[in-house]
Symmetry: C2
Subunit: 449 residues, 2 copies
């Protein structure tokens, strides 16, 4: 973040062009891990393939961990098996499992038979990428309740995880069931002879291995935890999720919300993703939107004879439809974020629906009266202004209501409210906007012509 | 998250109605801190005012910390000064400073003269809410390089912060300048006689007190830190930001992105915010959108005579404008998230612009050809279909380009790309969509009529 990528990239690429790998390696090694990955990511594919095998294996492992999954798989696949094994052995088990999970079955099986850490990685492959199990690492230290603080310290001394930081020590009984948690501070301050069960906290907050990763992240965020233990259905400790993972999950979920609200179905899509992926992630929703737009067109077509007599209506019909849609979008955005970041109780829902009806009504009056007045000044027809103003009031009230009812309803049905809200709601505000405005105008057609 | 709010709320409200405060307090105390706040937040205002002074002061403090700032200020203002002082003294200094910062100057001055922890809170009041200084806590443990590990442990023993967890110990020299960081694990494993300077890590990642909170959060997320030291412009350690704060910041920023893309100017707005706040946060943007919609209407009005001769054009004009807007929204969403979550190098920008031009062109061909074919089946006029298809290709290509150029341009100007992108871009795709379609149609008017 504080490094100047563009400058370093030039230096690095110059070195690679001269085949001066010593300098290239020095440039990379001078950076901190995450910055190494940022810089490496900017290289061309052939430069990456050339440089990666020449770096220290720990550094290659860190870089691979920080790359996007599809990119990492592609890059790793280009290396000799021996090199891959050395690199993957240096990766954190959860990252290694993610990588293997994205490889072909043959490749991952071939790797698993040769990895030193295969026993740590294998169980992680069982869990879905989107679950707590897919997020956790199997590298954790598990103490016994009857150990002394001194013994625990010795266990800690002998433990050298690939991830450097630890935040909590977990306590499990003979059946591996999670029974407590010990903070490092408590361990430091304890008399060496104290038993772990005396300093452990028995009120452990944990998650089950099969719950959705977002729920795990929200639980950690809710309780301000730096790490959370993950247990199987018999309450046995199977892994740990740490704070850096939840940041990734929450960012991912935020991006998903933004994307779904903007009708992009592929969360991995970047502005610079290949054109093929762009089309795949965007075209289906655009087709769906086109169908709803054509439905709106059909609504208008029922008033073709009215428009033929008063073409002025064609000028203003989109204002009614559009402002209803904009009002609804505001409500969808608020509802989606509220449902994503907090519990919305039944009582809060009733309050929301009532508030949003009145808000929509007032927004409609505010926008409708100004537009009516402005259009009267422009076109000088009081009936047109009246019809336009009234249609705006009606469509904004409707838009505001449906803009909360649809996301709340989808959420109740277990569908992500961000997913379909904007298509459904825009279809409704468009069609209804056209219908209200044109049917009112048809009624006053004599006066508007 | 796992608690059933609705049930507990009924129990709690029943107890309060019976004036059975012992039961009410028991219900609250049975919960963990963050859950106490969730439940408390659901109570009516008068119930909150009645219950809060009766809870233990540490519990009241935790609850106040977790409430939204305006709500917390309002609630605290209703309590007697003596109670407020007791509660605020139990709060973490950064939370106390946030609360005081939102109070009137008189109120906060009155409190500061009476608080025990005033010295910890006062310096925090100097920093903007949006800066690293506004986010940090002044509760941190600072060791000296020449202390032994044993002495450090004794310092740790005597230290009882309001926040319970600590992740790092910081090392400062005689001038309070930050010189190193010690993990708790290193302290546990060190021989008691080892000097701190021998086990500390000198490569400390830190942020300056005046940088934006989002940059501080991104730095922590980038380097996977559970805490980051904050220094003043002379490199003196003044505070610490912990991982739970960055989750809040990143969630806030994500909400801000979603809101700004949906034209809501107030990040604090909830679906159940008071109607007055709804109007204040939403009406200005709706007015701005209305102006751009009226500009679109003006574009159409130049073709009123054309539409009077071929009312069928009124049916399809919005399809062209709308699909251009939808395509552009997809690009805005991707550009905004990319700019928010990562560095976008100059090279990546060029790649993005080229890719998005071709993506828009292909999306235009895909949508344009299907719509042209469908409309030919419906209306049987090949010229209308041709004009519609061509206008869609043009407007989708244009929408795709402007959908990345505007956010990238705003970012370069130092304006948040989420803020104005959607209004500017929709105005452009609407007006241009109407213009292309209607001017092409005017050219083929004889054949379309």
């Amino acid at each position: 973040m504080s490094i100047n990528i563009d400058n370093l990239l030039t230096l690095l690429q110059d070195a690679l062009e001269r085949d001066d790998f010593d300098s290239a390696i020095q440039i990379i090694e001078a950076l901190r891990g995450p910055d190494q990955a940022v810089l490496f990511d900017e290289l061309e594919e052939d430069e990456q393939k050339e440089l990666l095998p020449k770096l220290k294996k720990e550094i290659s492992a860190d870089i691979i961990e920080d790359l996007d999954d599809p990119e990492a798989v592609k890059l790793v696949a280009s290396l000799p098996l021996e090199t891959i094994i050395q690199i993957v052995d240096e990766m954190e088990p959860d990252e290694a499992a993610d990588l293997l999970g994205d490889m072909s079955d043959e490749q991952s099986q071939a790797l698993l038979t040769r990895l030193h850490d295969a026993d740590e990685v294998r169980p992680l492959l069982l869990y879905s990428d989107e679950s707590a199990g897919g997020l956790m690492t199997s590298e954790f230290l598990s103490l016994r309740p009857l150990m002394t603080a001194y013994e625990a310290t010795e266990v800690l001394r002998d433990w050298h995880p690939d991830a450097e930081e630890i935040y909590y020590l977990f306590v499990a009984d003979d059946e591996k069931k999670l029974v407590g948690i010990v903070g490092l501070r408590a361990l430091i301050l304890a008399d060496p002879k104290t038993l772990i069960k005396e300093i452990m906290n028995k009120d452990v907050i944990f998650v089950r291995v099969d719950i959705d990763q977002e729920e795990a992240a929200r639980t950690m965020a809710h309780y301000d935890l730096a790490g959370i233990p993950v247990v199987d259905d018999e309450n046995r400790l199977v892994g740990v999720i740490t704070h850096d993972d939840i940041v990734d999950v929450l960012e991912e979920e935020a991006t998903e919300d933004v994307y779904r609200l903007s009708n992009i179905s592929d969360n991995e899509l970047d502005p610079d993703s290949p054109i093929k992926e762009q089309l795949r992630g965007r075209l289906p929703w655009l087709y769906l939107n086109t169908i709803t737009a054509l439905f709106g067109a059909w609504v208008i077509s029922n008033y073709e004879h009215v428009i033929a007599q008063a073409a002025v209506l064609a000028i203003f019909q989109s204002v009614v439809a559009g402002q209803g849609g904009n009002t609804a979008s505001q409500n969808i955005a608020m509802a989606v974020r509220a449902l994503a970041t907090e519990e919305v109780s039944a009582r809060a829902q009733r309050k929301i629906i009532i508030r949003q009806f009145f808000t929509g009504l007032l927004l409609g009056v505010a926008i409708g009266s100004v537009v009516a007045f402005g259009v009267y000044l422009w076109r000088g027809n009081i009936y047109l202004s009246f019809v336009l103003g009234l249609a705006l009031v009606a469509n904004l009230s409707f838009g505001s209501m449906i803009g909360v009812l649809v996301p709340l309803g989808l959420d109740k049905l277990g569908v992500d409210p961000a997913l379909a809200s904007s298509v459904l709601v825009t279809a409704a505000t468009d069609s209804l906007g056209f219908f209200i405005f044109l049917s009112l105008a048809a009624y006053f057609l004599q006066e508007i012509q």
